[in-house]
């Protein structure tokens, strides 16, 4: 019998690596990869709790919706990335700053 803590530990590692990938990378696609990891960790937690804490299938439903949302997010996000690349010819995240107010330094 695998304990709940084991799943939570794996999920925590997923979450932390996702966060590190999101923060440390400057490529927009890499940031989307990090988001996928975080969404996966959340979905894993839902399913684990649904077995160990609630004993019903609501957690499964939640993780199904998370998968759906991740698919939609990936499609729209990558479309935006490709459009951005067409305009700027780079996908460095710091280049996406046209809407920012000019800082007076």
């Amino acid at each position: 019998m695998i304990s709940l803590k084991a799943y939570l530990f794996v999920s925590m590692i997923l979450m932390v690596t996702g966060l590190v990938v999101m923060i440390s990378r400057k490529n927009i696609v890499a940031i989307l990869l990090g988001i996928e990891l975080i969404l996966n960790s959340a979905a894993l937690n839902f399913v684990a709790y649904s077995k160990y804490a609630a004993n019903n299938l609501d957690g499964h439903i939640f993780s199904l919706f998370i998968i759906v949302i991740a698919a939609a997010e990936a499609a729209v996000g990558l479309a935006i990335v490709i459009r951005f690349f067409q305009v700027k010819e780079t996908i460095h995240i710091d280049e996406a700053s046209e809407l920012r107010e000019e800082l007076t330094r």
């Binding site: 019998m1 695998i2 304990s3 709940l4 803590k5 084991a6 799943y7 794996v10 590692i13 997923l14 690596t17 590190v20 440390s24 990378r25 400057k26 490529n27 696609v29 890499a30 989307l32 990869l33 996928e36 990891l37 996966n40 979905a43 894993l44 399913v47 684990a48 709790y49 649904s50 077995k51 160990y52 804490a53 004993n55 299938l57 609501d58 499964h60 439903i61 993780s63 199904l64 919706f65 998968i67 759906v68 949302i69 991740a70 698919a71 939609a72 997010e73 990936a74 499609a75 729209v76 990558l78 479309a79 990335v81 490709i82 459009r83 690349f85 067409q86 996908i91 995240i93 710091d94």
Partner: protein, 196 residues
């Protein structure tokens, strides 16, 4: 026993792929490691008895998201822009100086301590159900739940997917400097004004 073996293999796959994904400089390799993570998470779902979720995970992620990611990396060059945080030692990216980092560490410390205080009783609050390893099929109950209790969310997610489909198609479509439909709108507007 087999659940334990599957759990060990899957979690090892997940953790090693995660770390490699964080480590590697090559974005294409990152995507392949993401594949490893997703398959490992699907294995973890299987150990939890979530067969349908595992199959959906493999289908949506491997068949769709990973290939989309690979396409995006290839179409945009897959260049990994070196950020300063990737070199852990000189930890000063462009988003702050050392004072902001000091403040950040302080706030993170306080916040983390608060969280630990709140969640210290997590495992005593959650009454863990000691279920046996017997496996029950989930599909029929999932189907019933999706069209009864979670019907609204189900319908909304279909609308979301339709929106994402149309939106992605429109956004990624190559176009001229000024899209044609703006001209049409402007023309219609002039036309209306002449009528009035």
């Amino acid at each position: 026993m087999f659940a334990n073996i599957l759990f060990s293999v899957s979690s090892l796959l997940v953790i090693s792929s995660c770390i490699l994904m964080m480590w590697t400089k090559n974005l294409m390799h990152s995507c392949v490691y993401l594949l490893g993570v997703l398959i490992g998470v699907a294995g973890l779902y299987l150990t939890l008895g979530a067969d349908f979720v595992a199959a959906t995970q493999i289908m949506v992620y491997v068949g769709g998201v990973v290939i989309l990611m690979l396409f995006a990396v290839m179409l945009t060059g897959g260049k990994d822009y070196q950020s300063q945080t990737q070199k852990i030692l000189n930890l000063f990216p462009s988003m702050g100086n050392k004072y902001t980092f000091m403040w950040g560490v302080g706030v993170a410390f306080v916040f983390g301590c608060t969280l630990i205080y709140f969640f210290r009783n997590l495992f005593s609050v959650i009454k863990v159900i000691e279920s046996d390893d017997s496996y029950t099929p989930t599909i029929e109950r999932l189907g019933e739940l999706l069209v009864t209790d979670h019907l609204v969310a189900f319908e909304i997610s279909s609308v979301l997917l339709l929106g994402a489909l149309v939106g992605a198609a429109i956004i990624a479509r190559p176009r001229k400097e000024r899209p044609a439909f703006i001209d049409d709108i402007v023309d219609d507007h002039h036309h209306d004004e002449e009528h009035h």
